[in-house]
């Protein structure tokens, strides 16, 4: 039942760890989020030091997102072109974010500001998504029976986005954007993700739905494709420079998560785009509430190892 982890230097119940992997993998396959936001604190709860929890989780997400990407790709749900632009933006944003955080940390008291901004943003995104998908579900109920499709809302003609140069058609998503738009949005999420120390799936998914106007199912597949590459980079860098990847822990997690991702994908196919959105918005709101509670309530122990979120 127990396995000793060579880098974390602690012993864990492997059934519990595989169960965690299964649960978080399911969320990945369903919503296209990495789930680091949930996994890292859960690992810390079972005694894994924060820096090792975060780095090892990235390693696990490589497996879960590879598993999810391949099944979504088979369903025709991965927009590689869009994913690539977002990825390039994300890499640039990640590098910039690391610099930004250095400046912010030096100025002191910035942690407070960053956390509050993030909470407000998550709260707004979650609420907006919740209300929007609730309205859409009401509309589709009133509409004639067979009117199921909830593909992307029609892109507005004109406006700022349309005036930008380098307009290009994204076939899988069925949208036309300037290449600069996904590049810029990728950078934006990358900066925030680096500052918060998270993968950014919770922000990237709403950005793709509402700003890039992509259909929900394509959003999930494309997000996973993008997360896969981000996490490969993070895993390698953490292993190389910080020695914080516990391979055995990652192995236990990924045994659960690769299956979870498959189940999530299958489950996602049975659900409507709006149903997926409303579920995701509930999770985003729950995460927001959790962070607020963590911030407001006095922790039982005021000391901790460095690292983590």
């Amino acid at each position: 039942m127990y396995m000793y982890l060579p880098i974390a230097l602690t012993s864990v119940n492997y059934l519990v760890v595989m169960g965690l992997g299964l649960g978080v993998g399911l969320l990945s396959g369903l919503f296209g989020v990495g789930g680091g936001f949930l996994m890292t604190p859960l690992l810390m709860m079972i005694g894994i030091p924060p820096t090792i929890a975060a780095a090892t989780d990235a390693n696990q997400i490589v497996a879960a997102s590879a598993s999810g990407t391949i099944s979504h790709w088979r369903l025709g749900n991965v927009d590689f072109k869009m994913g690539l632009y977002l990825l390039i933006g994300g890499f640039a944003g990640g590098a910039a974010g690391v610099q930004v955080i250095k400046i912010l940390r030096a100025s002191g008291g910035a942690d407070f500001l960053i956390k509050m901004t993030y909470v407000v943003m998550l709260g707004l995104v979650g609420s907006f998504m919740f209300v929007e998908s609730l309205n859409a579900m009401h509309k589709s109920k009133k509409a004639p029976a067979a009117a199921a499709p909830t593909a992307a809302p029609k892109q507005k003609k004109g406006g700022f986005f349309a005036a930008l140069p380098m307009q290009t058609y994204f076939e899988k998503s069925g949208v036309t954007h300037s290449a600069l738009v996904p590049l810029f949005l990728g950078t934006f999420v990358g900066v925030l993700a680096a500052i918060m120390g998270v993968g950014g799936g919770f922000l990237m998914v709403p950005v793709m739905i509402y700003m890039l106007r992509m259909p929900m199912h394509v959003v999930v597949g494309t997000s996973l494709f993008q997360i896969l590459f981000t996490c490969i980079e993070v895993t390698y860098l953490q292993a190389y420079s910080n020695h914080t990847v516990d391979f055995m822990l990652a192995l236990l997690l990924l045994i659960g998560s690769v299956f979870g991702a498959q189940i999530g994908t299958v489950l996602g196919r049975k659900l409507h785009g709006d149903q997926l959105k409303i579920l995701l918005s509930i999770i985003v709101l729950a995460v927001t509430v959790k962070i607020v509670l963590e911030l407001v309530m006095e922790p039982s122990i005021l000391l901790s190892y460095a690292g983590g979120h």
């Binding site: 127990y2 012993s11 005694g47 590879a66 407070f112 860098l237 953490q238 196919r269 000391l303």
Partner: protein, 264 residues
């Protein structure tokens, strides 16, 4: 006649021999203190989940005993949380805990406060109160920090099971084998690999009168040792291995599910 005999060189020699013998032979009341730990070597394998230690030895019948297991003192940096803006709890900075053992387990025959006075406890670093006086806590600017942080440190270490005090758990028996003592210690799996010191102190009339010690080695072996060595010595290769195996696992399971049906 009698007088002659007592003055004879033969008598003197016998008397000297008897006196010498008395000096060499052990006196039961002052039995030498010994200490041994079984096992004295704990291998860490994948199935390791802590160990059960037995510390035994001989001691004088009336002495109280204090058994400690500690590591070399180290400086540990920990992040601390404080209330910011009167509303939210956040990590504010780090505190350095200087000269603090990673592991501190103490067992004794009776309550420490009953058998030793504070000065003697502090001198021998026995009990959490003695540690409070010994461990220096500094903020990142090198200023001494508030004493409340020792309480938090203790809470943190106790939660990890690496700091523990159990008074009255050392059992003495007086039998044919002499006066022996024994204590069973649950060794926490959270304690990192390393060499630990087991000390036994004999206490009489409020003073430490004797001391014996031995060592305990906790060491990674086999694949556990190989993996942790690779993670540090061949970090690049380790990183690539971690990524490739995760990728293969993800793709393989993706492929299996395809074969199992579920095409659209």
């Amino acid at each position: 006649m009698k007088r002659t005999l007592m003055n004879s060189p033969r008598y003197l020699a016998v008397a000297a021999f008897v006196l010498l013998g008395l000096a060499i032979l052990p006196v039961p009341a002052a039995q030498a203190l010994t200490c041994s730990v079984t096992p004295d070597n704990i291998p860490i394998t994948f199935t390791y989940h802590g160990a059960q230690l037995s510390i035994t030895g001989q001691s004088a019948s009336t002495d109280d005993l204090v058994v400690t297991i500690t590591s070399e003192p180290v400086d540990t940096a920990l992040k601390y949380k404080e209330k910011v803006g009167g509303l939210v709890w956040m990590k504010k900075g780090s505190l350095e805990f200087k000269d603090a053992p990673r592991v501190y387990l103490l067992h004794s025959t009776a309550d420490l406060s009953r058998i030793l006075d504070a000065a003697e406890l502090n001198k021998n670093l026995l009990g959490f109160d003695a540690l409070r006086g010994h461990i220096r806590i500094e903020d990142s600017a090198g200023n001494p920090a508030d004493g409340k942080w020792f309480d938090e440190y203790l809470k943190f270490k106790k939660q990890e099971n690496v700091y523990d005090m159990q008074e009255g758990t050392v059992v003495r028996t007086h039998g044919e084998a002499g006066n022996t003592y024994k204590v069973d210690v649950a060794w926490p799996y959270q304690a990192p690999p390393g060499i630990y010191t087991v000390d036994v102190l004999a206490v009489r009339d409020g003073k430490v009168v004797d001391r014996a010690s031995t060592h305990l080695e906790v060491k990674s072996t086999g694949m556990v040792a190989a993996l942790s060595k690779m993670a540090f010595d061949q970090a690049g290769l380790y990183g690539i291995m971690a990524v490739v195996i995760a990728l293969l696992a993800g793709l393989a399971v993706g492929a299996i599910f395809k074969k199992g049906g579920g095409s659209h």
